[in-house]
Symmetry: C2
């Protein structure tokens, strides 16, 4: 039975990583759509979300099956519970990528109101956090996971600066309000993707070391 | 052992409901702070979040313990997994209540930019959804759970109307941008609390009937 469990856990891990790859791709495309004002790429993100949703359901089903079938203890149990949580977070990231794509779609025809470089810097940072949180998960790398948790503060700061900048811009020129509000939403969605990457990183630390680092920031 | 499991599951249920009551109270207070412009009540919400966070951790710990100790099957397993998910959603609702309280704090000294009645109507609807999702959970009431899922569409519509209204307001009078943006955030946080209540309702249906109603809306 242990051998079967081992095999099934390896399969579960691959499934989760494949979902992670889909979500990472959706995030990257949403960022491309936003920064390069590509409505066609935004559409790809919106059309891809059904697959992410159905994969999430399959993985959850798989976790429940493994729990019932093997009644695993200690490390294996903690791993399966972590997979369920990460799975949930990945699905929410997918939704946020769609939200960003929606904003990108609305803004594709207009002149950008923030220097594209600023949005890109933030987006690149978030993209790296998504990538690193998944790498930390695969490699059970707590050092990398803790880096992701630290990086989240930078993204929070970037979002706050973006907020301030857009607020002032809209006060100066009211005709920029609609675009300003869309850009603000996009920035907030990016910031929330970073939060979810941080959740994943925290779950990695919990899974590997058994230490809860949530709520201690 | 079955008797012990039964006793421990009943205890877990009580713990979850007590967390639910804390979160419901935080949500109600955040709404009061927002609508009645009460900075003191906003402060109570901010100060109460540590308790919610620590309760969430305790409940998760308890779930892991029960899974390892009893290796439960079928219904009990599905119940424990549902508790873990609802627990997570409740903690996120608590965070959103704090976000609303932060906005309420910033806006307490200013004249409201939206008719307080509009915000109140939306807030009352969200408050009812939180209440009903928890009632549905306690009573394993799928009919009520499905009502919560349906109500979420109304809240989404209310948020969209609020968005439109505030956007136009800010375009007409740029001096209202800061307050408009805060109000928009508060409305979005309310809408997300409703989303999480919907998640809980969906988990109730899954727990009781084994049917997945997520992603089918």
């Amino acid at each position: 039975m242990t051998k079967h469990l081992e095999r099934d856990l390896a399969h579960l891990k691959r499934e989760l990583l494949s979902l992670g790859a889909l979500v990472e791709e959706a995030t990257n495309k949403a960022i491309t759509a936003l920064v390069n004002r590509r409505a066609d790429v935004a559409d790809e993100v919106r059309n891809g979300d059904d697959l992410i949703d159905s994969r999430e359901l399959e993985i959850e089903e798989e976790c429940l099956k493994l729990l019932a079938l093997y009644q695993p203890m200690a490390t294996d149990l903690r791993f399966i519970v972590a997979v369920m949580k990460v799975n949930n977070d990945l699905e929410r990231m997918g939704d946020l990528a769609v939200n960003i794509a929606d904003r990108a779609f609305d803004m594709a025809m207009a002149q950008p109101v923030v220097p594209p470089g600023d949005l890109l810097t933030m987006a690149e940072r978030v993209r790296a956090m998504v990538r690193e949180s998944l790498d930390a998960l695969v490699n059970r790398d707590c050092e990398l996971a803790r880096k992701v948790v630290r990086d989240d503060e930078d993204v929070d700061d970037m979002h706050k600066r973006m907020f301030k900048f857009l607020e002032e811009l809209m006060m100066k020129d009211a005709s920029l309000v609609p675009l300003g509000v869309h850009t603000l939403s996009a920035s907030r969605h990016l910031e929330r993707i970073a939060d979810l990457a941080t959740n994943i990183a925290e779950d990695v630390v919990f899974m590997v070391e058994g230490e809860v680092i949530r709520h201690t920031r």
